[in-house]
């Protein structure tokens, strides 16, 4: 296995842990909050899944930088100016700020969890797009914005179907 393939495998692994973590946080959260309280066991599961998500984030960021350096030294600088890559960075920034705002209770949990869930999937899908033809940055961000609205509504719809009412 060459270095580039190894870096890509590690990067995808980070993404998988992140997307999986975000999915399970959403599932565990909705399941736990159904009875109105979150007991210590449920809280423990949430914390464990959040650790997996943060590990995934760390792995994908560190391997992402290694990939950038690889392209830089390999003379493929054009890849660093790919709008898909910059869209991924923007979403990553949104994810990180959302994490802090959730900790500070400045964002309602329903909104924050929807942002986290949709953002992780967007980064994952944009990562798949990176191997194909390039797309304009503005178009990607508009898609992301639309995905946030639709994803947020769908998640809220699922919660209402389950009888969960969260403050928005």
């Amino acid at each position: 296995m060459d270095t580039l393939t190894l870096l890509l495998v590690v990067h995808v692994l980070g993404g998988v842990l992140g997307v999986g973590g975000a999915t399970f946080i959403e599932i565990i959260f909705n399941k736990s909050i159904r009875d109105g309280v979150m007991d210590p066991t449920e809280l423990g599961f949430m914390r464990m899944t959040a650790t997996v998500l943060r590990t995934g984030l760390l792995i994908s960021v560190f391997s992402g930088l290694a990939l950038m350096l690889w392209f830089r030294f390999d003379g493929q600088v054009f890849r660093l100016y790919d709008p898909v890559l910059w869209a991924k960075f923007t979403i990553l920034f949104v994810l990180m700020i959302n994490g802090v705002l959730l900790q500070l209770h400045k964002v309602p949990i329903a909104v924050g969890s929807a942002i986290s869930f949709v953002s992780w999937y967007s980064v994952f899908i944009f990562g798949l797009l990176a191997s194909g033809p390039s797309h304009p940055y503005v178009a990607l961000m508009l898609w992301y914005g639309a995905a946030l609205v639709v994803g947020g509504c769908v998640l809220e719809g699922i919660r209402r179907m389950l009888g969960i009412r969260l403050k928005l």
């Binding site: 560190f62 930088l65 350096l69 990180m96 994490g99 802090v100 900790q103 209770h105």
Partner: protein, 148 residues
Amino acid sequence: MTTDLLFGFVALHAYSALAAGTFFYMSMLEAANLHRTRAKRLNSYAFLALLFSVLAWGLKLTILREYFQEAASGAGDFVPSSTVPLFEVLQTYIFPVVVLLAIMLFMVVWREGHTIQENSSARYIILWTSFFGFALSAVLMFLGVLIP
């Protein structure tokens, strides 16, 4: 300096800036935890952010010195790019700011870290200092990779 060695310095610099940004972010997350901020942990994060930002600055200065020496002598593998002056100006101004923010963060955490639960102004100073440190470190990391 050989190109391989220089690439090593560039990689180390970018990773130091990333590590500094990561520790700034972790300080921010720890300070944002309204239920249980652990002062000891906050202290370690602030110290590591300071350590890595100083390391990143030192490595950047080495790289810039090498670049300008080679550019002046006309030797080496570097091809001067029209974007270099902009990168250089940005880096020259941003690096000392990041180190200064890291020093500020460390001092505030050292003095007020244990009172953060009841001292909301200290919490907000730590939050904003680490946020700016995180954002600027991220900018420096990108510039570090993009600079020829």
